[in-house]
């Protein structure tokens, strides 16, 4: 693995921390959920109305309790993922309400889309988890949507997945489903099997829905990504330093709460901060500023001794075109080389998180494969220096017929899965562009994908739970 590089000096990290502590001590963070306020009050913090003021020592002590690394368990142990330190985890985009077709036609996402995105993630060599809300299926009743979504992850793949953070009831259902799958709540408390995404509301607030879910997951010992999305210029200062401090304050406040409730609960420091487009007011994510936020956040997380979440194949483009390519490569490469551990939105995202696309998913899958090969680095084992082969081939010879070449090329030289490397005439037969190849590829992958079998008894137990809960809430 390539070493991860730092984009900040240690003095700069210290400055961010100092400014963050000043925000937490003098301005505070608003928590609108009474039970959360009670937790803070019982710890002796000053609470005025909904506003909580955090003391330096308290925050620093609490954040230290969160682990630097944890394992998330999959129903197939080969697909377990380790989150933190040198590890990297890629997964599809999260939360988009729309799907853009190859020609840019926009439509509401459906449950069929959801299933297909999971299958494509399941089939991918480069996506380590199938993620969470890969899209928001508009054709499923909102009250049972979370049940259907988790079921799709379980049925269509045996990789790790995420649970719902939409309030206490859905959080409890998610943990219950994971418990059924893995053999009980005690089992998953020891071996966490589910992770959720808790978002603050910037600047400096957390809402009821997210706080309810945070408390449920913390009590059950299940990991959470605690994330902030600062839009520099609108929900945060136009200066990146100030926005980074606001983000840092929100995330540390959230992490502190999790550790108060259940010390040692795994958390991931999350950032999706980016910029406001100053002409329109929209969020813009496919840019160097977003990459800077991701890289700085990865380093801050290392400073605090916790894993980080950030980055992805991020773009503001509406189709899987050239803009989508260059923006997504920038953000994924930056995130991956600077050590983001949990990369939500690695694949499929278009238009500043508003949409997913199957073509974009395949483009990003290729980008992910390229980046993973890059960060794998160069193998300098003695055999790889190939001295004896070089001597045998000698000046003016070639290596194509060497056993060493036949043995090593598959390991050392990555095959492109989407990129076209043909001769001109080869390409000219069909004259495809990336979007067209991607359009064909996702259909081919889906057609040949076989979801891993699920134990019949487990399936029945899951079906029964979902039927019971659906009857209760509908």
């Amino acid at each position: 693995m390539l070493p991860k590089f730092d984009i900040l000096t240690s003095e700069q990290v210290r400055l961010v921390h100092e400014n963050t502590i000043q925000i937490l001590e003098e301005i505070g963070v608003e928590f609108s959920f009474e039970p959360a306020l009670e937790v803070f009050r019982s710890q002796g913090l000053k609470v005025e109305g909904h506003r909580v003021f955090f003391q330096r020592d308290f925050v620093e002590e609490m954040v230290k309790k969160a682990p630097a690394e944890f394992t998330l368990h999959a129903r197939n142990p080969e697909n377990n993922v380790v989150c933190g330190r040198d590890n990297i985890i890629y997964m599809p985009g999260y939360g988009a309400p729309f799907v853009h077709q190859a020609d840019g036609t926009r439509r509401n996402a459906t449950m069929a889309d959801y299933d297909n995105f999971i299958k494509l993630a399941g089939a991918s060599k480069n996506l380590h988890m199938t993620g969470g809300n890969v899209v928001e299926p508009s054709d499923v009743d909102d009250r049972i949507r979370h049940l259907k979504m988790m079921y799709s992850h379980i049925i269509n793949s045996d990789k790790c997945f995420m649970g719902s953070a939409s309030g206490a009831e859905k959080a409890k259902d998610s943990i219950e489903l994971a418990a059924i799958l893995f053999g009980g709540k005690d089992v998953i408390k020891e071996k966490p099997a589910i992770i959720c995404l808790i978002n603050s509301v910037t600047p400096l607030k957390y809402d009821d829905r997210m706080l309810e879910a945070l408390m449920v997951y913390a009590e059950a010992g299940q990991p959470m990504v605690i994330a902030a999305l600062v839009m520099a210029g609108s929900t945060g200062p136009a200066t990146l330093a100030g926005s980074l401090a606001v983000q840092n304050a929100e995330v540390l406040a959230g992490i502190t709460l999790t550790q108060c409730i259940n010390p040692g609960t795994p958390v991931v420091y999350g950032s999706t901060s980016a910029i406001t487009d100053m002409a329109t007011g929209s969020l813009a994510i496919g840019n160097p500023e977003c990459a800077l936020f991701n890289s700085a956040s990865a380093q801050l997380a290392r400073f605090y001794g916790v894993p980080s979440r950030g980055g992805g194949g991020l773009t503001d483009a509406k189709t899987a075109d050239t803009q989508a390519g260059y923006e997504s490569m920038m953000t994924l490469l930056a995130a991956s080389t600077t050590g983001n551990n949990f990369v939500l939105h690695s694949a499929g995202i278009l238009q500043y998180y508003m949409a997913m696309s199957f073509e974009k998913l395949m483009v990003d899958d290729e980008i992910a494969g390229m980046v993973l090969r890059y960060i794998r680095g160069i193998d300098f084992a003695e055999e790889k220096f190939a001295f004896d082969i070089i001597r045998e081939v000698g000046p003016g010879g070639h290596f194509l017929t060497q056993k060493h070449t036949r043995k090593n090329h598959k390991v050392e030289l990555r095959r492109a899965e989407l990129s076209d490397r043909q001769s001109y005439d080869g390409w000219a037969k069909e004259r495809t562009d990336t979007n067209q190849r991607a359009h064909k590829r996702w259909q081919d992958v889906l057609a040949s994908y076989v979801p891993p079998a699920l134990d019949e008894q487990l399936k029945t137990a899951l079906d029964e739970f979902i039927a019971k809960r659906s009857a209760e809430v509908l």
Partner: protein, 213 residues
């Protein structure tokens, strides 16, 4: 007199709320025509900023600060305008808010500022507001448009509930309902029988102008 109106125009263009307030007070002190002050000063200023913005020379902070400056100045002059018998019935009144269960508001705030800049009178009721509050405010101020924002797929349905609530209270015909926010769309607006939808803040302004034409 024209010099003072020119200064007002510049104060709006510079987004200087304090200066705009000060100059509005001067208009009253010197007993100048407040309606002319609005037309030749505040409105000329906001129009110029608006044109700069469309030309890509000015940006959102410029437009929003200009709107705030105009709003502050107008607040000073309103009583005097009312006394002259001039009413603000001409400018459309809009009640703007984020729906129940949703506390996101940056988009709503941008829309509010642009609507103000376009000459509408905006009553922003804030975040996480029940349908009852939207209606109560609209009736209180005599609004013509109710504008509801939602950022989450889980709170979008409150926009549908808002339309249904107005129908229940036999108030649906009194107001135009427009919606917006990330996961919303034209199709959604049609499904819930809203009167309009806009994807961006400046489209929202055009929509409101069209609805009140």
């Amino acid at each position: 007199m024209m010099e003072l109106f020119e200064e007002i125009k510049e104060a709006v263009i510079d987004g200087d709320e304090d200066l705009a307030t000060e100059l509005a007070e001067k208009v009253l002190e010197e007993k100048l025509n407040p309606v002319d002050a609005v037309q030749e000063g505040f409105i000329k200023g906001i129009e110029e900023i608006g044109n700069s913005w469309k030309a890509g020379e000015a940006f959102l902070p410029d437009v929003m600060m200009a709107a705030d400056a105009m709003k502050a100045g107008l607040a000073i002059l309103e009583p005097a305008i009312a006394e002259l018998g001039g009413s603000d019935e001409g400018s459309g009144k809009i009640v703007l808010g984020t729906v129940e269960g949703d506390i996101h508001d940056i988009g709503k705030n941008i829309v509010g500022a642009l609507l103000t800049a376009a000459g509408f009178k905006v009553f922003d009721i804030g975040i996480d507001q029940k349908a009852e509050v939207f209606l109560a405010k609209a009736e209180e101020v005599g609004a013509r448009i109710i504008a509801a924002s939602a950022l989450l797929t889980t709170t979008m349905k409150a926009q549908k509930e808002l339309v249904q609530y107005l129908e229940e209270k036999n108030a649906r015909d009194k107001f135009k309902i427009v919606i917006g926010g990330g996961p919303t769309s034209k199709a959604w607006a049609e499904e819930i029988k809203a009167d309009g939808w806009a994807e961006t803040a400046d489209e929202a302004v055009e929509l409101c102008k069209k609805l009140l034409a």
